[in-house]
Amino acid sequence: MRVVARQSRRRIVVKSGAGLAALGLALGGAPAAASAGPLALGAAAQTQTRPADSPQTRPSRPEPEVEYVIDGDPVLKLIPKDTIVPIDAPEMVPAAEAAEFMRDDELVLGVFDGQQARAWSTWHLDRHEVVNDRLGETPIAATW
């Protein structure tokens, strides 16, 4: 017997697993730039695909530096470390106190160990990539 989730096609939004949104924000500064930013690291691609953007108003793109080659693939250094700022002292509140800043249709990354549950908005994770947190006694890194 199979059950088809009724809301199945409603809205499947994305986690790339790759943290590209944070990178785009760091490179381009604003979400509007980020929507193209992480995909167009080269200046030529940028001007071809986004002709409406004035180059004068956009930060210049750094040339990626190949730091290492691991298993045949380059590790490209794009921005200084911790430009995307991790969260080290997360302020957590109960669900009842979250109505002002959480929407019901907003995506969260959640974890439950059988006793305690914690959630982090993926929109917020887009901006920070890493939350150094704790689940009970266990030190955890919520990564995005």
């Binding site: 939004v13 697993g17 290492y68 380059p74 590790v75 250094k77 907003e106 990539e129």
Partner: protein
């Protein structure tokens, strides 16, 4: 989601500003070793080759999450703005560095739910999983059931209990239920706890499952199986 403990020692992670295989790289603040977020292993530095323990997590809506876990805590943040992924999701382009997709079994931007076991990997398309509610497959020799959670999330379990491999479906209440002959057993779809039937009291082992674009999954796991 990882345990930030290496060789028994607690550490914290920062963001390196570097990209490998189109995924951001973290570094541990004790040694500066680089860690891939996708395969949880250190790719440079003193910890190179080591792997972090993974913790199963789920991506779903806040409304569904707080219904499942009324006692949840949530990270304080500013109110929502539009997702910066919006146009990225809609476009056909994949990745940040122009890598060409090596695996055309699915369009690169298809969301899949990937599970690893040692060197073996297998993934299911998320939309198919959400439609069916449950999919049975293998990750190498490990029998695995993928389970839809709410409208957008997914979990995975080793589908083995009581010394046998199970085929699992969903019942009218959303519980996992054994298929085939005999008296059915039912399991909680989130914890894997056996609720009723001959396997009541047993527990399916929850496996870490990564919700990720197909192109990203295949760039880390080129030999991945695709279950559908």
């Amino acid at each position: 989601m990882y345990v930030r403990r290496i060789d028994g020692r607690e550490t914290t992670f920062g963001t390196s500003g570097a990209l490998w295989r189109d995924a951001l790289v973290m570094y541990d603040r004790d040694t500066g070793s680089y860690w891939s977020q996708v395969n949880a292993s250190a790719i440079t530095g003193p910890h190179q080759g080591k792997t972090l323990a993974e913790i199963p997590s789920v991506v779903t809506t806040w409304g569904e999450w707080r219904k499942m876990h009324p006692g949840t805590l949530v990270l304080v943040k500013p109110p929502l703005e539009e997702s910066p992924y919006a146009s990225y999701i809609a476009s056909d382009r994949t990745g940040a560095t122009g890598r060409t997709l090596a695996d055309d079994r699915l369009p690169g931007k298809t969301l899949v739910v990937g599970v690893r076991d040692g060197k073996a990997a297998a993934a299911v398309p998320l939309d198919l999983l959400v439609e069916r509610g449950v999919l049975n497959g293998q990750v190498g020799s490990l029998p695995v059931t993928w389970v839809a959670v709410g409208a957008t999330g997914a979990a995975a379990f080793e589908r083995r209990a009581g010394g046998r491999v199970l085929e699992l479906g969903r019942d009218g209440e959303g519980r996992l239920v054994t298929q085939g002959g005999g008296e059915p057993s039912r399991f909680d779809p989130e914890s894997g706890a056996g609720l009723s039937g001959p396997l009541a009291g047993e527990r399916l082992r929850r496996l870490p499952a990564l919700r990720v674009f197909w192109y990203s999954w295949t760039s880390f796991h080129p030999d991945t199986a695709l279950v559908r």
